[in-house]
């Protein structure tokens, strides 16, 4: 088994997990498992939310490589698939080259749900959540539309603005303005319900969960940085809400 292929496979698995929004401890564990199952000695891996380092010893020679992962999205399907591949390789179900080929396919994979379905899902989750928060049937449509606006503007701004928190802030502001428009046009709607529903697609659920799981696994640096990420998102949404409320007067 060539050390290069082992290195490539491990790093590919690690970067896919990290790029798709997985926990850093999962990244490290997966790389270590694959390398150890491939018969490498002295395996050490380290991951932060933006980089992966792997080093091992193969027939008396040390190998170390580092990869940066600047762009991150959330795609839990890819994490599940990589998890599956690594499990099958470790249990001896597939060979290393098969694992590498499958990982390459996973890396190239498009999101399983088309864009329009994701936007519809954002609308649906906003509408349903606003009703859970005490809204009536009347509030369902407008808050779904506001949630849709938030998700659409997120996607739109992401292309121009490199700063994630400003993107979220602008999207939240857009959603807030749509809610404000609805409330001004139809005074029987509730401003609070609309805003609560509209901001739900921005809720940093994955950052919170990952931060906690990393902290639990002892990855303190990654856990704290993910926690700060979640807090900054929450703050940008809160500021956008405050500005919207201030406009209302």
């Amino acid at each position: 088994m060539s050390a290069d292929l082992v290195m490539d496979t491990c790093l590919l698995a690690g970067t896919i997990i990290l790029k798709s929004g997985g926990e850093t401890y999962r990244t490290e564990e997966t790389m270590t498992w694959i390398a150890e199952a491939a018969g490498m000695d002295d395996v050490n891996s380290s991951a932060t939310p933006t980089s992966v380092i792997l080093s091992f010893r193969c027939q008396g020679q040390d190998h170390t490589r580092m990869v940066r992962t600047p762009k991150r999205t959330t795609n839990l399907n890819k994490i599940t698939l990589v998890n599956d591949v690594s499990r099958r390789f470790v249990s001896g179900g597939i060979t290393l080259s098969e694992a590498y080929r499958t990982l390459r396919e996973i890396d190239q994979m498009k999101p399983i749900y088309p864009k329009w379905l994701q936007h519809m899902a954002a609308a649906l989750t906003s509408g349903a959540f606003s009703m859970l928060a005490g809204g009536s049937w009347l509030d369902l449509g407008p808050s779904a539309l506001a949630g849709l606006t938030v998700n659409l503007s997120m996607e739109y701004f992401e292309k121009f603005v490199r700063m994630k928190f400003f993107t979220e802030f602008s999207a939240a502001l857009f959603g807030g303005m749509i809610s404000l428009l609805f409330v001004t046009l139809f005074p029987q709607l509730h401003m609070s319900i609309l805003i609560i529903g509209a901001m739900l697609p921005l809720f940093p659920g994955i950052a919170i969960t990952n931060s906690l799981r990393d902290l639990m696994a002892g990855d303190l640096v990654a856990g704290v940085s993910r926690g700060v990420e979640a807090m900054l998102t929450a703050v940008s949404v809160a500021v956008a809400t405050a500005i919207t409320l201030w406009f209302r007067g």
Binding site: N83, T125, F129, F203, G205, L212, M216, A242
Partner: protein, 150 residues
């Protein structure tokens, strides 16, 4: 009323799963986690529990359920827990806090913001509690197997 809440939490969690590209075969399980979380969250106050306690308990239930589902379906538990905590998000508290700040009611705003933070902390501790309980249970099971073998 309860049925409506159950249906809404199911829909909202399932849609959230789609937003995060959860694998197709686990979408409904994620929605189920959200529904169970909401069920616990809305029934505990009827027995006299306050918001913080019911949030803590329902978050731990969601976390435990995600761990069990992750073993049954052989996928990472994040798939379920991310969607499961959606119905517990303290949206209206956060909104009220911002409203108070905008209206120059700083004392009220700080009270409400603290309350929001406490609820968020309850969700976090609930998730951690669920994982810890599950780890203990799994460790105990492994230890039991080891003694049986030995």
């Amino acid at each position: 009323m309860l049925l409506k809440g159950l249906a809404l939490s199911l829909v909202s969690s399932t849609a959230w799963c789609i937003l995060f590209n959860v694998p197709i075969r686990t979408i409904l399980a994620g929605g189920l986690a959200g529904m169970v979380g909401w069920l616990v969250f809305s029934t505990l106050p009827m027995m006299g529990a306050e918001v913080l306690l019911s949030t803590l308990v329902s978050a731990s239930v969601v976390s435990l359920l995600s761990q069990v589902l992750s073993i049954l379906l052989r996928v990472p538990s994040t798939n379920f827990s991310v969607a499961g905590i959606i119905p517990l998000v303290p949206g209206s508290l956060a909104y009220k806090a911002m409203l108070a700040f905008v209206n120059n009611d700083y004392m009220g705003g700080i009270t409400l913001a603290t309350h929001t933070l406490m609820v968020a902390g309850a969700i976090a501790s609930g998730l951690i509690l669920g994982i810890s309980v599950f780890t203990i249970w799994r460790g105990a099971r492994h230890a039991g197997k080891r003694t049986q073998r030995g």
